[in-house]
Every structure is written in structure tokens, then in C-alpha cells.
Subunit: 169 residues, 2 copies
């Protein structure tokens, strides 16, 4: 089972691809960022997100996607911009027929670090251990995406636990 | 100059295609709805919006799009869902290289009816006169989209008024 984790954003979308080798063993396949420079218009950013996510699916053939859920930030304008990014990303995934499962940041952190209030650094440290990687050069948005993928994978890979998964988006 | 007006929504996206025949004469080419049934998942709705908008562009070859601006409704959850729809639609338009201009509902109503607080019925009545159409069978979302297209067109079609147009999205 290959899982693509996505931490969406207009300017810096993190992604992480993992393979569940057994119910309790996950290996990292790839991770990184789809970056959109500050000077790009929203329409160009959304075009690049749609295309970039499509490319990830064609490259890695994920069985499913674990994505950060929509949430209501303090800054409403920022939340609306983030939702536009989610819309373009979900459209690209749906076009390729990949099922999408959404998790709140808190839920993902609870699942992989054991605490919903873990810092980004603590999430990154846990990803380093779980995947036996050197995380010094990996951006937080990518380790967050790995955490989302693992949060989904560690339930999805256990036979009989399907009822615990959220409804696909 | 062909202008595609879009009133975006997850379930009922209105569209209207107009042709500016001169600076002060506009003709209707088509209008309607991209509808998504209540039982469809968000991912399926977004896939259909992306595809539907792409089809409109391929059918009508608009020079530009006039779209309703993002706004902060009373219901934050509804606003986030609407923003996802906008994201998928903008990604589709950007993929086809069509410039997008955003107008608030108030601005569009001011421009075409003369009052920012006009009702949907009043906007529809004005569209009936301007385009000499029978609007009884046309849904409000489609007449709103026609108003957006006209709001943009009546400035864009006048040589020398380009400075009055908003920045593309």
C-alpha cells in the first residue's frame, strides 16, 4: 500500500510518499515541497498545484491520499486562500481517481506522536525515527505530510480496522 | 470580445457567456448551470467543476473570465467550501490561459443595476432587458453570472478604460 500525504498550501505544499510494508512497518519513498514563488498570481499557483499533484500521482501511483482537513484559522482571508489550494489539489486527485482521506493536524499528531499539541519539530523528530532518515534538510511541511500519510497508513494497513477510517472526501 | 461570467459554488455554479459587440452593446451567447447533485462527494464535485469549466472554455473561447470574488460569509464552513470550488475553477481556467477578473457581488450589482443592494430578482430583470431575453426559465445563478460578465465587459470594451479594471487573479 502506497500512501501520499499532502499538507496543502498556496505557496508551500508539503508532500510525503510512504509504503506500508506490513501493518507496523512503513518505509519512506519520497518527500518534498511543491513551491510557488511569492510573485506568482493565485491562478498560476493553482495551475501549478493541480499539475504538480497530478505528476506525483503519475510518478508514485498511490492507493490513497491523506490530506490535512480544512480548518478555520484566526485569519479568515488566509483560510479562504488555503481552501482554494485544497480545491485545486482535490480536483487533481479526483481526476485520477485516488481516494482522499482528511485528518485534522491534531488528529495526525495524536496518531503519530501521541500528542495533538506536538510541535512541528517534535513531529519531524518522530518521522526521523520512524523512517530512519536524517531530517535536518527536510522542510517541516514535508515532515507534516509524512505524518499525515503515516496517520492514515497505520490504521489502513491493519486488516479489520477499515471502520476506523474517516469517510473519503 | 467574448466574456465568460462565473458565479462559483460547490453544488450550483452559474455561468453566462456574452459577446461585447461594441462598447455599449452586449449579446448573450449562452448561460446555464454546472450542477452537482447533493449526494456527490466534494472530490467528485470538484472534479466535475474543473472539467465543466474547461469544456466551457473549449466551446466558447472566452477572451477573459469575470468571476465572483471570495468573500467571508456568516457561515465560515460554507465560505471554505465555496473557496474550494473557486480553487478548482481557477485552476481549470489558468490551465487554459484565460485571464480571470474578480468582482464582489456588490460591485457587479452596482455596475449593472446601479445599486449594490439589488435583489437577485432585480438583477435578473435587468439582464432580461439588457439582453432582450425571457428570463422566466433561467436560474438566478445564471443571471448573476451574466451580470458579472457584463460588469466586466462594459468597462473592458471601452478603449482607454483598462486602468479601471482590477488586477487579474
Amino acid at each position: 500500500m502506497i500512501i501520499l500525504g499532502i499538507d496543502p498550501a498556496m505557496r508551500r505544499t508539503g508532500y510525503g510518499v510512504i509504503e506500508m510494508q506490513s501493518a507496523d512497518r512503513a518505509a519512506i519513498v519520497d518527500c518534498g515541497i511543491i513551491g510557488n514563488a511569492r510573485e506568482l498570481s493565485h491562478s498560476e499557483c493553482l495551475r501549478r498545484l493541480y499539475g504538480g499533484v497530478g505528476e506525483l500521482v503519475r510518478n508514485f501511483h498511490p492507493d490513497c491520499v491523506a490530506m490535512e482537513e480544512a480548518f478555520y484559522g484566526k485569519n479568515v482571508k488566509t483560510s479562504l486562500i488555503l481552501s482554494m489550494a485544497r480545491g485545486a489539489i482535490i480536483a487533481a486527485l479526483a481526476e485520477q481517481g485516488v481516494p482522499i482521506y482528511a485528518y485534522s493536524p491534531r488528529k495526525a499528531k495524536q496518531a503519530v506522536v501521541g500528542s495533538g499539541s506536538a510541535t512541528k519539530g517534535q513531529v519531524a523528530a518522530m518521522m526521523a525515527v520512524r523512517f530512519a532518515i536524517e531530517i535536518a534538510g527536510i522542510p517541516d511541511d514535508a515532515t507534516d505530510a509524512l505524518a499525515l500519510a503515516l496517520c492514515h497508513g497505520q490504521v489502513a494497513a491493519v486488516p479489520g480496522l477499515q471502520d476506523l477510517l474517516p469517510q473519503p472526501v
